[in-house]
């Protein structure tokens, strides 16, 4: 099991949360919620906003692949979110789809 963390600059606060996926074979779980330090400056100081990603994965040695997938995700996503990923051997394509699904669920305000 490997524990990876990543930070990305963000442009806007996130106000909702979303949970998608399952820690099953070839799949992963994504918990997206407002970053702890977002919203404190009411978005006036966008440069200070950051998205935090924490990955726990059952497969060791793929940190560079995780970085590539997340780099690409954050070219299109600018929310100051705390993203926690529990991974059970998902492929990069599945990871990207689950991230997109989490964003879609959060933007719909579906926090169930």
């Amino acid at each position: 099991m490997e524990h990876l963390t990543f930070d990305y600059p963000a442009q806007r606060a996130v106000t909702t949360r979303a949970h998608v996926g399952v820690v099953g074979s070839g799949d992963l779980e994504v918990l997206l919620s407002p970053a702890a330090d977002s919203g404190t400056n009411s978005g006036t100081n966008a440069a200070a906003m950051t998205a935090h990603v924490v990955v726990r994965t059952s497969v060791d040695g793929y940190g560079h692949i995780w970085k590539s997938v997340l780099d690409r995700f954050f070219t299109r996503y600018d929310g100051a979110a705390q993203i926690e990923i529990n991974d059970f051997g998902a492929t990069p394509g599945v990871v990207a789809l689950r991230l997109a699904e989490a964003v879609e669920a959060a933007e719909q305000g579906d926090d169930a």
Binding site: M1, V23, T57, N86, A112
Partner: protein
């Protein structure tokens, strides 16, 4: 019965229940809009034991507890997620189920009836958590026995994992069991039987044989489960509602010791077949009191 207020725009002839993850299964059984999850993923109550063994946790430990209403009556649903660690019962996931049933019991004892449903989809105890998982399965069983005096406890075994190990005993203690043809119920899974007793006893790769022995159709035909339903979310929901409508049975299966001993006595272990098992266990052969429901 009111229609399911699912957001699907396209008309579906049938929505598979088996394909739903645990959270959506619980949601589909509760009245539309009444689903409210307790100890959800953002509460982050995970297994403390899995990381020590290099296993990634799930934020809800593979168990969804939901409050809501069924047919307008207060209800609690415990749904096991089969995709996470084979639906195995760990200290946390099992404690969530036991606590949900114990809280329902407390409400029932105060005169506020809460309808309990357990969605069994489990290989039994989570081996990484061994004794703690076993201990909590005992708590679940005790809670079911205490609770079923007040209100029917309804179990659902939809598949595809099935229900095995200690949790098969918990399922057997339920007032009513709803199964699909795809569901399986047994103490030991077929692979375990083949490994321990040899391939002459059971070829676990013979799926037809396995389902003939422990599949939902066989379990209902031999009176060890109550309702056989199609893999259809509406059908499962209707079966659960009708089970509650029947009320508490006059005698639960596990209380009919003599009846089942008589049925067992009619079985010759050397020559038993799925068909002879059905014949011996079918209701009309029961000599002692038939299973009547209270009004």
């Amino acid at each position: 019965m009111s229609a399911l207020a699912t957001p699907h725009a396209a008309p579906l002839l049938r929505e598979s229940f088996i394909e739903l993850p645990a959270r959506e299964r619980a949601r589909s059984l509760l009245d539309a809009g009444s689903f409210r999850e307790l100890l959800g993923p953002f509460d982050r109550i995970e297994s403390p034991w899995l990381p020590l063994q290099g296993v990634v946790c799930q934020a809800d430990d593979g168990c969804v507890i939901a409050r809501g209403t069924i047919d307008g009556e207060p209800a609690v649903v415990a749904a096991i997620e089969s995709a996470f660690q084979g639906g195995s019962i760990g200290e946390v996931s099992g404690s969530k189920i036991a606590a949900a049933l114990e809280l329902a019991l407390r409400d029932c004892e105060r005169g506020k009836i809460v309808r309990p449903v357990v969605l069994f989809e489990t290989g039994g105890v989570r081996l990484q958590e061994a004794n703690l998982g076993l201990a909590v399965i005992a708590e679940i069983q005790a809670a079911i026995v205490a609770l079923r005096r007040h209100v029917p406890v309804v179990g659902v075994i939809a598949g595809m994992v099935g229900c095995f190990g200690g949790m098969s005993l918990a399922a057997a203690l339920c007032s009513y069991l709803v199964m699909t043809r795809q569901g399986r119920l047994g103490m030991n899974g077929p692979e375990v039987i083949e490994q321990e007793a040899g391939i002459d006893e059971l070829d676990a790769s013979d799926r037809r044989r396995v389902w003939q022995l422990i599949g939902g159709e066989q379990r209902v035909a031999s009176s060890l489960a109550d309702q056989l339903v199609d893999d259809d979310a509406q059908a499962v929901r209707a079966a659960v509602q009708s089970a509650f409508g029947q009320g508490v049975p006059a005698a639960h299966r596990s209380e009919q010791v003599d009846t089942f001993l008589q049925r067992l006595a009619r079985i010759d272990p050397a020559s038993v077949t799925p068909a002879s098992m059905r014949e011996a266990f079918s209701e009309q052969f029961a000599h002692s009191q038939p299973r009547k429901e209270q009004a």
